[in-house]
């Protein structure tokens, strides 16, 4: 229900500046709003006349036996070619403008490295501290299902400072994965042999899921991690200056095929 309400809010009103919960989610939401209203308008413009015609021009014996002999109308054809062209150019350009903001991280972002493997995540912070996440750290061992983020042990969570842009460099050790920050609505594939980038920012402390969004094998659906968004001071305390101890990998990542 919370999401339904937020969606209604999203399509109903533009969000006020201070309510921004996450970047680049806000740009994504702007694009979605524009698309949604354009789509609703087009749907009404097409569906209402067609349903009206369906009712009005139905076959009625002795009254409406034959259709009119109309082959076409060049003027109206040109109109409904040109107007959609203008609409798609507008939509494309609007999304282009938002895309530029979604892809380019602001100055002063905290840079972290994310390495994906089958099936878990490794986060590396600028001072060398690493966090590993595997499914058995975010799951209930008895029922063998996911826990909710607040029940997960803190050692498996990647801490993120609130209100600060985070620039992520992703790569992968074996197959293609995709680093998806759930509440920030941004994803980017982690491709072996390449480094891809994305950025996000959370303004509200809390705990948010990270999922893998590119199919990567048996436990693709269990390749989740938790971001713990905390205040800047708490983050600095957690990060520390020294070499941080690493959580030991609980199971071995699978071997890739090597010739």
């Amino acid at each position: 229900m919370r999401n339904l309400l937020s969606l209604l809010l999203l399509v109903g009103t533009a969000m006020a500046k201070e309510d921004i919960f996450a970047y680049p989610r806000v740009y994504w939401e702007n694009s979605v709003t524009v698309w949604f209203w354009v789509a609703v308008a087009i749907y009404i413009i097409v569906a209402v006349p067609s349903i009206y015609f369906m009712v009005k021009y139905r076959y009625r014996p002795k009254e409406n036996e034959e259709g009119a002999h109309i082959e076409g109308n060049t003027a109206i054809e040109i109109v409904w070619t040109v107007i959609p062209t203008i609409i798609v150019l507008f939509l494309g350009t609007y999304s282009f403008a938002n895309f530029v903001k979604q892809r380019n991280a602001p100055e002063g972002a905290l840079e972290i490295k994310v390495t994906a493997f089958m099936w878990g995540w490794e986060f590396e912070y600028p001072n060398g501290k690493k966090v590993y996440t595997f499914f058995n750290q975010v799951a209930d061992p008895e029922k063998n299902i996911y826990l909710m983020p607040e029940k997960v042990d803190d050692s498996a969570k990647a801490y993120i400072p609130a209100g600060k842009p985070i620039k992520v460099y992703c790569t992968s050790r074996d197959v293609i994965h995709s680093f998806f920050v759930h509440e920030a609505r941004v994803t980017e594939d982690c491709v072996p042999g390449r480094i891809t980038k994305l950025w996000f920012q959370f303004n509200k402390p809390g705990e948010y899921w990270v999922f893998c969004r590119e199919y990567c094998g048996t436990w693709h659906s269990r390749m989740a991690s938790v971001l713990k968004v905390v205040s800047e001071d708490e983050f600095n305390e957690w990060l520390g200056g020294q070499e941080a101890q690493q959580t030991a990998p609980a199971n071995e990542p699978a071997q890739t095929v090597q010739q």
Partner: protein, 549 residues
């Protein structure tokens, strides 16, 4: 010109088993394709239900077996549902079933241009079908999904890559042979006096689809052959450790696999045009622009493949460029929808089963097309890529618009193929169940992807109450839709003994209705070569034309 073997019994389907196997007759080959396609449709549909039940609750419900995890079984079922629904149902039902049966009848030909090649294309397809059945053996599960992205598909976790490659190659051989056949038939075997502007729009759609197959399939074949050599022969096209590039596979795959969705949907558009025009007793509005839009979609469809890779690490400028080209597909598609609506203006619409399926298909395609826009807008796609929204969108266009089009076509040409009339009541009930069920299911799927951000291909997910609730609503919708599809199948089987149909039950001037007997005679037309009068047009409904509604 090979002479098709004509059975002595007079009807095209009254033949012995040997004649069915050795046949080169386009009607029999079409029916073989059709039956195979429908069987695989049912199998893949059952796979889809397994997926729905698995997703109805968090955790893995499917049992692990034969040393494989439950999630492996899920991934295999997902692969099967995807690949079989796309290649064996969505493509083959048109390019194999409908096209083979109808195109020669619509253009006034005795048979297709290369009857034996036609038989060959069916039997290579049959071989691919047998290989697909081999994957049911437990240790043969292909778990790389129908896309088979490298480098995962080179991993031992993904199942037998060689089997996947051979299936795709055999299928490609069949597709190429079939499309060459169709293009040659349409170009060179039209009746006397039938110019390009007097073809049925369905024939135009098959022409465009065959051209897409002809240009696109080599790219798919190349991608899987490189995959094969990479895994087994030590080349390094896709292996990044040794200088390959995983994105190359995606480019090669999507260069075919995006245009192939137009192979699937264009013939459905053709069926919509035929049915709407016939049941409205009115010529199709703007015939020329309808035909040009078909070719425009086919052409632009080849310039949009990168929208499947908006988050795969391709350069940002490329994403924006392809965002624009993808959006441009909306223009010719929009023209077609507007033309259909305009055809209804001042018409005389008969509401029977084919017409209902066509209306449903068009209105669902409208939703499917409008929800395709965010997938093309790169700023939205970054948030919904690989989410359930994508699944919902392509099930609206393929699972609903296409399937409704196919069902509409089956009902529409049922009398011509079998010589019997189907039951209208059962057909209408089936339509309403399918419409309601599919809408419940796929609308909530899209909502889940957009508002909740649920990723695709997840048998297991965090037990967020809204997610569980939405998944269970979808399962209810899937069950309603299954009942609807089952009713249609029951209807087709029962009606084989139904009342005899007249030669032209819908009163259409199109050749396959107005110039052939029901069921079609062995040589299709009473006299060859077929000639059409100067003022003839497949959509020329004029006052006083005899109807049997």
């Amino acid at each position: 010109m090979a002479v098709a073997h004509v059975p002595p019994s007079g009807t095209w389907y009254g033949a012995t088993l040997k004649e069915w196997i050795l046949t080169t007759d386009h009607k029999k080959v079409g029916m073989l394709y059709f039956i195979t396609s429908l069987i695989f449709f049912i199998v893949a549909g059952l796979f889809g239900l397994i997926i729905r039940f698995e997703q109805s609750a968090p955790g893995i419900q499917l049992p692990g077996m034969f040393g494989q995890e439950g999630a492996d079984l899920y991934n295999y079922v997902l692969t099967g549902h995807g690949a079989v629904m796309l290649l064996w149902w969505a493509v083959t039902v048109w390019t194999g079933g409908f096209a083979n049966f109808l195109v020669p009848l619509m253009i006034g030909a005795r048979d297709v241009a290369f009857p034996r090649l036609n038989a060959f294309s069916y039997w290579s397809f049959f071989g691919a079908s047998l290989l697909v059945l081999l994957t049911l053996i437990p240790n043969n599960w292909i778990k790389m999904l129908w896309t088979g992205y490298a480098p995962y598909s080179m991993n031992d976790n993904a199942g037998p890559t060689s089997l996947y490659v051979l299936i795709v190659l055999l299928y490609s051989v069949s597709s190429t042979a079939g499309s060459v056949n169709m293009i040659t038939t349409i170009v060179s075997m039209r009746a006397k006096g039938m110019g390009w502007t007097k073809l049925n729009l369905f024939v135009h759609a098959i022409m465009a689809a065959s051209l897409i197959q002809l240009f696109g399939v080599p790219s798919l074949m190349g991608s899987v052959i490189l995959l094969f050599t990479d895994k087994y022969l030590g080349t390094n096209f896709y292996n990044p450790m040794l200088g390959g590039d995983p994105l190359l596979y995606q480019h090669l795959l999507w260069f075919y696999s995006h245009p192939v969705v137009y192979v699937m949907i264009l013939p459905a558009f053709g069926v919509f045009s035929e049915v709407i025009s016939t049941m409205s007793r009115k010529p199709i509005f703007g015939y020329i622009s309808m035909a040009l839009a078909i070719y425009a979609i086919a052409f632009v469809g080849f310039e949009t493949w990168v929208h499947h890779m908006f988050v795969s690490g391709v350069p940002d400028w490329l994403r924006v460029l392809f965002s624009y080209t993808t959006l441009f597909v909306a223009v010719p598609t929009g023209i077609k929808i507007f033309n259909w609506v305009a055809t209804l203006h001042k018409a005389s619409i008969r509401y029977n089963t084919p017409m209902l399926f066509t209306f449903g298909g068009i209105l669902m395609f409208l939703i499917g097309g409008l929800t395709g826009i965010p997938n093309a807008m790169v700023s939205i796609d970054i948030g919904i890529s690989d989410s359930l929204f994508i699944v919902g969108h392509f099930h609206y266009v393929l699972g609903m618009a296409l399937t409704f089009g196919a069902f509409s076509g089956i009902y529409y040409w049922y009398p011509k193929v079998t010589g019997r009339m189907f039951s209208e009541g059962l057909g209408k009930l089936s339509f309403w169940l399918m419409l309601v069920g599919a809408n419940i299911m796929f609308f909530f799927q899209m909502y889940m992807g957009m508002a909740e951000g649920m990723p695709r291909r997840y048998p297991d997910y965090p037990p967020i109450p809204e997610w569980v609730q939405l998944m269970q609503i979808q399962t209810v919708g899937a069950l309603i839709m299954s009942v609807g599809i089952l009713l249609s199948f029951i209807n087709w089987f029962r009606s084989l003994k139904g009342p005899k149909a007249p030669d032209n039950p819908w009163g259409s001037p199109s050749l396959e209705w107005s110039m052939t007997t029901t069921p079609v005679g062995p040589n299709n037309f009473k006299k060859h070569p077929v000639e059409v009068p100067d003022d003839w047009h497949p959509y020329a409904y004029y006052k006083g034309y005899h109807t049997h509604i």
